[in-house]
Symmetry: D2
Subunit: 384 residues, 4 copies
């Protein structure tokens, strides 16, 4: 086995280069994993552009850090592992782990001891959160991201062993699909008449990159009626048509008023039941609420990084329509495996593998990253 591990490093905004790291000794309970496929996420793009403030206003607020090896949507193969004295290493479902196993790795490692770890569940609200792809590569054992030859997996990581029939692509999609959790929450609110997300509801998704597409598919899988996709990429809108969108709207060809009017037209003048903001464009907050029906649900899941402020009218946008708003960033790790199960149970219906439209070896990470910023791709992934 090589003594030097090569990986792509985001040294600072705008500078991504291949570096070598010493192959680390592994501590008890840890593993070395060979990345098989690693999705490029919106936060990776933002990080390259220097927009790297996350969790603003919480104790976990971070900026960057730089340098770091990107890559947190990981499917890999266990290359080396070190058992603890007291018990064998197991995945999140109690399945024994061994070298050669193919696994999905949840992006976040929780401390298990802070207030949030003891009192909340599923969400990654840990005070001492560590996230693959967002850890300083200058600190040993260095290799904390999926864009490289090997990746160090800490003890206590959430690991999901996958069977042969689960493709790498579905493994990579487990993470963005788990981000769609607010749709599950909205389902939970739908017991109240005309609140939340009910069977047959009209759902609008703003911004249909991979995250938006996952929301669109999830809406379909949870019983949506009409689904509308809005984006500026014709490529992505066509993509959505193939994955179940009934209507697509290009923001370059339509005005906000025309978009609102279409939504009113297809809902007998009432407005959408659910609007999901996945664009990361702050103005969509107001535009989206304006096309929501009274009592509708707005899901704000597109602003994983800080891109500034927008003006809002508390009467018109919050009270007058009795809106419900669910904000979320990051994901519920408890939703990773259910997301895989959901995709596997609906493989006959959706070509999940096809969502990974481009693959680049990690040595060409920059090329992959730049590709992911163009309009004519869906999920771009890094491979060995």
């Amino acid at each position: 086995m090589p003594e030097t591990v090569k990986a792509a490093v985001l040294v600072e905004p705008g500078r991504l280069e291949i570096q070598g790291f010493p192959r680390p000794e592994i501590e008890e309970g840890a593993m070395l994993v060979k990345p098989l496929m690693c999705g490029i996420c919106g936060t990776d793009k933002h990080g390259y552009n220097g927009e790297a403030v996350q969790y603003a206003g919480t104790p976990r607020e971070v900026n960057g850090p730089y340098p770091a090896i990107p890559g947190h949507e990981n499917v890999g193969e266990i290359v080396e592992m070190r058992q603890t004295k007291s018990e064998s290493l197991k995945d999140f479902y109690g399945k024994e782990l061994k070298e050669g196993d193919r696994i999905v790795i949840s992006p976040d490692i929780m401390c298990g001891k802070c207030y949030w770890c003891k009192h909340s569940f599923g969400y990654t609200w840990c005070d001492n959160i560590r996230s693959y792809g967002h850890l300083e590569s200058s600190v040993p054992p260095h290799i904390f991201g999926g864009w490289g030859e090997l990746m160090y997996v800490f003890p206590g990581s959430h690991i999901f062993k996958i069977s042969d029939e689960v493709s790498n692509e579905i493994g990579v999609l487990a993470e963005p699909m788990a981000v769609t959790y607010p749709l599950d929450i909205a389902k939970g609110h739908s017991s109240l008449p005309h609140e939340g997300f009910s069977s047959g509801d009209t759902v609008v998704v703003y911004g249909v990159g991979p995250l938006g597409l996952c929301h669109l598919i999830k809406a379909r899988l949870l019983g949506a009626g009409k689904v509308v996709a809005i984006d500026k990429s014709e490529y992505r809108l066509k993509f959505c048509k193939d994955y179940g969108a009934d209507y697509t709207l290009n923001v370059d060809n339509t005005t906000a008023e025309e978009r609102r009017q279409l939504i009113l037209d297809i809902t007998d003048g009432r407005g959408a039941d659910v609007v999901i903001e996945c664009a990361g464009v702050k103005e969509v907050l107001v535009e989206g609420i304006e096309m929501l029906r009274q009592g509708g649900t707005f899901i704000e899941v597109g602003h994983f990084v800080d891109v500034g402020e927008v003006k809002l009218n508390p009467h018109r946008h919050l009270c007058a329509k009795n809106i419900r708003l669910i904000g979320q960033m990051n994901l519920c790790y408890t939703g990773m495996m259910p997301s895989i199960q959901l995709m596997m149970a609906n493989r006959d219906r959706f070509d999940f593998d096809g969502i990974i439209t481009h693959k680049f070896p990690f040595t060409q990470s920059l090329k992959g990253l730049l590709k992911s910023m163009e309009p004519d791709c869906m999920k771009v992934a890094i491979i060995p």
Copy 2:
């Protein structure tokens, strides 16, 4: 137009015959409708067998009545209507109605004035409920069921106008599909970790006649993982395979213990997340709970008529496993149109029309009714 209206009448248990009735004058706000397709329901079969006590223990408790023209899952065409002075007749969604329109008719008519009509919503808990197919045909205007040439539709009925693209079959299925509402409720409970009905959950359906099949499909449409169908009809089990069941179990070939073991096997020893009782077999209550995981949800929707008692252990079956149980009979009328929307949005996935396996003209109602009691059919319908 004929002055005499022919219809099938269930005169008493075991006696179904064709009778003639005078074509009625219609009151303000009422309509005459030509039935295009009318599903045969489990309660119709029970009624023929004399098991006709419904709503036992509530103010609405009824037995029968006899004689009555059966048929409450109706799609029809408006033949004649009489507007009210103050406003035009509209459907439940505010759409204008006119002769020639194709409509779905909700089985129950509510008084709109009693405590329940004012305080609850969607459910048909009305103190003065009147239900098509269950009204005495000896009382004018007589023709209150779908098994005949014409049907009288009272003012205040819940009417759903359907477009040309909605087939009669889907219209008929709106009613049993709306009965699956407990799955929506269970979705609402799933915000609590490991309660209710979550994405990827294992769902068992006991009794897969038309109602059980609707639950199976609905479970799929709301994001189930593995779905198991249990029945004694090989025909129906095969049917379920085509509509998304991952496993089928024939109660004639397996013991209760074997069935429980299979469920444990496919859930890593934990038991099913959701068990739905659609068989109307009282022993299934205990057998179903025994195969439920702790914290699982049991949906009891199969006992629309009274078929007696069963022994239950409050510790073992209710407390020890922290079970949640949702009982329901009848349906939410507010779920009728969403059910149609849900089916229309998933026509590419499920052949809903194919669920109506047999059709008989109303003049052969008895033949149809007897067919519906045999194991080699799914939904049997009455046509003109």
Copy 3:
């Protein structure tokens, strides 16, 4: 009985005067009611100041109207009524009504026929909503508000007959107490760990006029732990101390940062679980979210009229903290009687009558209205 009915009329912003109207003939199903007590609400004050845009962005958007007889929080005595031919007049609970009965009148009259009346429940989302106190007094039968000698009550109004033991004061408070419905919704969300409103939670109420005080009391009655009141009126803050506030903060003596720090201090640095905006001050939206813990619930119920825009950061204020936001204006009429029951069941604990601090005869309505705008009052009411 007098042939002329005197009432206070808000002729235009800033002009309130006593006028005389002809005593109306009543239509079938209608009533004439003598107002016994009528609360002055925030929208009355806004209307006097010309801030009268309500339901902005919905089909129900209104401005004013002027002239109108104010008064929608009404307790009255039936003076005259006209039965319908088919049945006797009953209240919302099916209780027979007769002259001399004391009743609470829900402010809104619904059409019962539009989409929203058929598909939603409880909320007053009716397309054709009419609201007492907000109907043009120039249109016969003119007397549509509680600030006068008599009030015309339309057929189809939601009427709640009250027994002798229910004071007029509690009757008046039924309306603002029913506005606290978002706390019930938040209770419903609390099944998810650390979401919604759970037992023992820390609740902050911004703006503790009558509506804020009702939220404070409701929070207590639904199991809050620590409750914090924030206002600029020392009188109102002292009032809150007597009604269960653990902490009070005067915005004139503290900075936003000091207020946030206090909330952090009493929550071990985590922030409030629930923040309720009842001040109608748009800047509170951001200040309140800043003091919310991650996963906390923000209730926006203070902006019944349009007072402009505020800047918000979608990342920091919505996503980063995973907040849930419930907007509401107006109330659920189905919550009126439960609110009365709740107050009656807790009379030993809270002096509800004492919340009505000032009473003025309707001939002194202007004096009462001006009083209600001063800081040293709680609920001001109009009496005969």
Copy 4:
């Protein structure tokens, strides 16, 4: 410090005696605690009577065990503790622990590694659950219950440090009060009109020993309207009157039909909204459902041990009324501290300390246990 630790041991059904045990060496992360007060629970009484099957039908099913030192509702003082190498011992809220601290100890210790520990939250569904008061005293370090001089507290126990103002009594009540969690769940279901537990609802509690009384108080604290207590002990019924019951019914003076009639009378003929079974009497399941309104919620929390079967009619008791049933045994440990906070926030309203009506030194445990089986006591506690 003594080298021998005395404690009461339930050697076998019907035989409780004082034994001596060697004072144990404590492992890393463990503590020795001096019990200050320990409540006697229904399972203790059942255990004495030989009814000791718990968790029947789950992987955790146990019978007994015998011999064991009873006592799982514990408040104690830390006498000795052994820090781990890596970090200081903390309570569930992250508060540092030291000798002399007064603590509440959650009855159950979870493994933290099994499927249930990773996938559920709050509930004690752990495959490897260990419960104080139910561990074999023949196995070192022996002293696993609160009825003695000292108690061994395992690493990983859920510990709640309490301040001076929290009385021992309130500390003891944290456990039974946390058992009332189904009322919180039912609150969560109440967003649906007329389901779950809404403000102003009528609540019936069957069996008002300490657990029933806790439910009665919790119902009050969460906004119940009328509350009815049913028991055979006049002492307990009087007790309930003082703690907020509006009606009390003695099963020795009334027939089941009379009790049902009273419930109908006070609910305008509709039945109770919520019925809670805390009696552990299996026949109450049917009697309670018979007095429930349609759509009502039945909470079955009284059968912590197996006492046999009862006959139930699936149509009449589950379907016809659309009932919702929540079964629970044991408790959510996450509810312990919120329960304390809830009691502390309502001390002015309820005399919680007064619920502990009798106290016996552990040397008189048998006397205490026998007392707790008599009708003229509420919670009996063991003290040093």
